[in-house]
Point group: C2
Chain length 345, copies 2
């Protein structure tokens, strides 16, 4: 048996920092410069991996959830753990088939809390129409976790009606989002109670599969690329796209649906709504000729009435996201660098 | 959309205790009385779940690893995370196809430690011949994890040469183990340094798939049931079998391979080697007529020279594991009740 020598890696950070978990530049450095080369993985950072077993094309994805606090307006860690993994399958262009869940429980956690989160998982899985078929449970000492961490894995059947890839994106394609951005991140931030700010906000946690199913049905191959903009927000997803397709993304900032409460909180905290995590939104790149049909399809899905075309793909500037502000100027929208919002999912 | 009311559960423990993670009676109570009914899962506690996608029969399994310390003689959390999941697929009668890994990293953990564990995962996956195709990374604050927790998920193709089920087990079937038991648990216990005891022991962490492949090749349907006796040890696996097949398991205690160092440590600590975790052993129930052929097949696999027939299945006492001691007496071998060895995997 030959064990190949470990490849060279270029990750030079000396220790793990919270920013490595924030979904922005530090996360990308950790994953691309340390984990991916050492594990010999495909370096494209998709939300799901693809696999052929016999004649069947499968998508598989796994995510750990460590959100703090465990419950917040509109949802809880159990909801996120199910919806987040269902959404990774959905934006991977697959039909979710089954979920697994693995729990790391902290000793001393009241049973009422564990029960509530398992019920939340069960209800979310029922709403998403996907069974939870297996799992695992571990327990760590009091203080060694925050009540519970949940890792979910999803398996899906690749939908042949799609041909999703950043390489399929063309100048002129429309950028569409399914609704208001930033609700989840700001809701969780406020639920921590560290900031003296009151806002009537709820997390948007939900399965986005109904949106993906509507696009498959009504648009099919005209859909080029899908993503659910979670950690790092819409800005990070679009920067990843711009980098991968080597084209520019042009956002019309005034068209991006942002609630007044989110905009207000962001202004107070010095944050950009485009960097705030979402847990129930889809961003779709759609061929120009199909954009109106895609928008109609998304708006017909319950909860999709705020869907909007928010920009388009351009030849220049390659690899960059530009926002046209409401004053008519433009600004570069970068990826998140630090971690203003740790443990958001 | 109809959300079914949460089913009644009979789990009455008021909070999570370390014993709920030990793999014994408390773990079973948590899983069978709370998690399985709330999630509406199949109540049979197999190591892997089965799924048909189109014409393909798949096995899928997930496990979180929280072993403390992270490294110990013979292995580390990275080895366990790969081998443990490969082994769950293997004893589920499937050919491992791919792995996913999700990391929960503690802020402040030196990169050297993270790098070493990712390298350990990579090397273990190479030895097992299975690619790691995707994953996720989260970071929690310093103090909220012990360096890192790893959750791995495995997907496999069900091997049609097997028909594994406790329901297939018959009186007279042989009980076979692949080697020395208890090495892993005692090694980890000693590596913690809490006990003033020195022994030249190494964890047995390895893929058991080569043993399963040898049985598939040489015995096939004569193999009735397979398990890797991890948390709770051989005693717990055999009690689960006895309960599920409603027959008795008769162990000849003197035939069970136990190293002197493990026996000695167990005597000093008041533990039973049959309750100690293994991470690279297989227990197989094989039709009497195939027992010798199975034993030969296992012994031909590198690392299988200590394989032994250690007992047989009997009509009575149903649901019970009896050990015939070296003095000729018999004793009931129960499942683990408390948790003498927390966080062993």
């Amino acid at each position: 048996m030959t064990i190949v020598a470990a490849p060279r890696t270029t990750f030079t950070d000396v220790q793990i920092e919270m920013a490595h978990g924030a979904g922005g530049k530090a996360s990308r450095r950790l994953v691309e410069r340390l984990i991916v080369p050492l594990l010999g993985m495909d370096s494209r950072l998709n939300d799901a991996a693809y696999l052929s077993v016999d004649e069947t094309r499968l998508a598989i994805t796994t995510d750990s959830f460590v959100v703090r606090p465990l419950r917040f307006p509109g949802g809880s860690i159990g909801d996120l753990a199910v919806n987040g993994t269902v959404n990774d399958l959905a934006v991977g262009g697959s039909v979710p088939v089954a979920l697994l869940c693995s729990l790391i429980l902290e000793a001393g956690t009241p049973t009422t809390i564990v029960r509530a989160e398992i019920q939340a998982m069960s209800a979310a899985a029922q709403r998403a129409g996907i069974p939870i078929v297996g799992g695992d449970t571990k327990v760590v000492e009091h203080g060694k976790a925050d009540g519970l961490y949940i890792t979910t894995t999803g398996i899906g059947r690749v939908d042949p009606r799609f041909n999703l890839s950043a390489g399929e994106v063309r100048p002129g394609d429309a950028v569409i989002v399914t609704g208001y951005i930033g609700d989840h991140g700001i809701t969780v931030l406020l639920a921590r109670g560290d900031i003296d700010l009151d806002a009537d906000l709820r997390s948007d946690t939900r399965s986005v599969y109904p949106f993906v199913a509507a696009l498959a049905e009504d648009v099919g191959p005209g859909v080029r690329w899908l993503r659910d903009p979670t950690r790092g927000g819409l800005a990070t997803s679009l920067n990843e796209l711009a980098r991968d397709c080597r084209l520019g993304v042009n956002l019309e900032e005034a068209s991006v649906p942002v609630r007044d409460e989110v905009r207000g909180a962001c202004e107070l905290l010095g944050l950009d709504p485009l960097h705030i995590a979402n847990e129930g939104q889809l961003v779709a790149i759609v061929a120009a000729a199909d954009a109106d049909r895609a928008l109609e399809a998304l708006r017909r899905v319950p909860g999709g009435d705020a869907a909007a075309i928010v920009g388009h793909i351009d030849v220049t500037p390659p690899g960059t996201v530009l926002a046209t502000t409401s004053y008519g100027g433009t600004r570069v929208v970068d990826m998140l660098v630090g971690d203003p919002l740790p443990r958001i999912c």
